[in-house]
Amino acid sequence: MSDTTRNIAYFGMVAFLIIATGFIQSWNAALFVLNFGLISAIMALGVNLQWGFAGLFNVGIMGFVALGGLATVLISMDPVGEAWAAGGVRVILSLILGAATIVGAILAYGALPKGQVRNIGMIAILVIGFFVYRAVFDGGVAAVEAVNPANAGYLGGLGLPVLLAWPVGGLLAAGAAWIIGKTALGLRSDYLAIATLGIAEIIIAVLKNEDWLARGVKNVVGLPRPAPYEIDLQNDPAFVERVAGLGLDPVTASTLWVKLIYAGLFAAVLIGLFLLAQRALHSPWGRMMRAIRDNEVAAEAMGKDVTARHLQVFVLGSAICGIAGAMMTTLDGQLTPGTYQPLRFTFLVWVMVIVGGSGSNLGSVLGGFLIWWLWVMVEPMGLGLMNLITAGMSEGYWLRDHLLDSAAHMRLLTMGLVLLLVLRFSPRGLIPEK
């Protein structure tokens, strides 16, 4: 079987799984799987860029995804004028002061001679800077958060079209990645792993606690959408007439139509990014990346700047995760920092990349769809399995109740098992790198 027929078979299988979901469960469920599958595929592409091309071990994907989500709020929500008047300028000023402190400390580190003077000078700059920053910041935050806390209590966004948030999400993630990469790349690979793990937790902590920024755990709901609202479609006589011709009722048809619009948008982004990633992989740059991955010392001897190339690909991959994060928040229509879980947003993406085939873009896309489908379907399948196991047990028997309650946790078990089995028996993944 040639590679092409094999790949067609794999993607045919994914299509079959999604269509089967449509027939067995509902078409809404099938489109849900499809939309999140598209987003997952984009995340997997980003991680594949880092891991597959360059061998960088990033376990902070969740943080970059969340930054993309933040971008959606910052771009698309209307600004809260009162909050800006109350303390917005003060908050921004304090952030500039904080950044200036860090830049000042870095400059002082470079300018002062090595020794006691430099240490004391840097610490003094940081400590004084911190207290000045807090003094300005705290008042501003209190003022902003006091403005209509039930509905606003934050600065709001820029009120721009929501689609603009996708590239901006990528930029935000790229900025964060640059800072992490600058400090942790060039050291041992484990250090990058720990640093990314940490920064992801911190980004989530900031999103949860800085209410002035995006309302924290109070969530920002009702984000503008690039697709029409279902209720408008249902009230639109032309739409109702058209779907009646297809024999559908307007409510179902409107939800399907909205999901299809999203699917179209996401597919366009995925195809664009996929083509770019393919071009990158087969360009001199891609060959250089793989050469660095396979033998850093040799690549360095050939005059390649390994650390700079790593930084470059790390920033690019994280930006793609940021774009995917912005798309996901757009699809959800709300930013809920409480729902970001590392197992779901970091480690699941890793399973996708490994199962699909690290180093292969097509494999990552396949892994994204396949593993997402599995993630969604394991729960009902687990429940079915548990029903089967417990069928013989009497009603109210403790083991029966326990097994039925625990079916939801089958997901993690299954994902771990899939990852270990693929690593053991097919370590190059379903579609191996050529």
């Binding site: 902590a205 399973v351 990852l419």
Partner: protein
Amino acid sequence: MDLLNAVVALSNFVLIPAIAYGSQLALGALGVTLIYGILRFSNFAHGDTMAFGTMATILITWGFQTAGISAGPLPTALLALPFGIAICAGLMLFTDRAVYKFYRAQKAKPVIFVIVSLGVMFIMNGLVRFIIGPNDQRFADGERFIVSVRTFKAMTGLDEGLAIKTTQGITVVTAIIVVAALFYFLNRTRTGKSMRAYSDNEDLALLSGINPERVVMVTWLIVAALATIAGVLYGLDKSFKPFVYFQLLLPIFAAAIVGGLGSPIGAIAGGFTIAFSEVMITYAWKKVANYALPDSLAPDGLAQLLSTDYKFAVSFVILLIVLLFRPTGLFAGKSV
């Protein structure tokens, strides 16, 4: 100005909790650092190993509690601890056989081991949630105190109270015993020495006739014991929640790296560094400052540097500082 009260408040809210937390982190970091030294990879499943060992201990504790077996003034969990360790060790050895051994034979790259450990992490996490559920579990048979606030106030006549929970006392005592035993084992016994030799230079150790499989097995046993003890102490002191244990991975790794990966003494130093910084930076100093400073200087606000939600940020910043200025850690560990 009331220095004595300030000292008491400081001990009550900062020193005692930080010492207990530091001991727990140190035990966790010792496990990470041992695996790093002997098996040469960062084990991402360590948090979930702790959760699994703790869960086994909790289930047995509940059994003891229903059977009416208790340890007098000490928590029942201490009686159940050896059984928990045995179960956890069984799982570790099984995992090693079923999963890691294959990659060792292949001489796979360390990063492959790390990814494999991600798979193990998923499975253990699922297992724990499957068996005991994702919710909070308390198993300390009620709060008990070595010194309670009331007796302390009655004893000293001070305004500030000092409380030392039994669990905090046990944490520190257990940690000292475990660390002493571990160091005795590593430095004085034949097996311990062979482990250190294997960690320093694998090829030389093999040439000297050290059996690598035995070293690996002993390492997993010790790691299972350390992880279970750390997990049970943490659970007794606070409470057991699978997700929290997963999140402990970050401060534990930070502790191991700050101390120097692969260096046991570094893991302990790192654990206390992280614990003290975390507690001190997220503590609201108002109370202590009110006692220690003259009225005119007393702070208006809480005098809290960072809110407690940012405690991860503290471990992270310390980690960054160490990575930037001293990448091998405080006690030069391995820099592979």
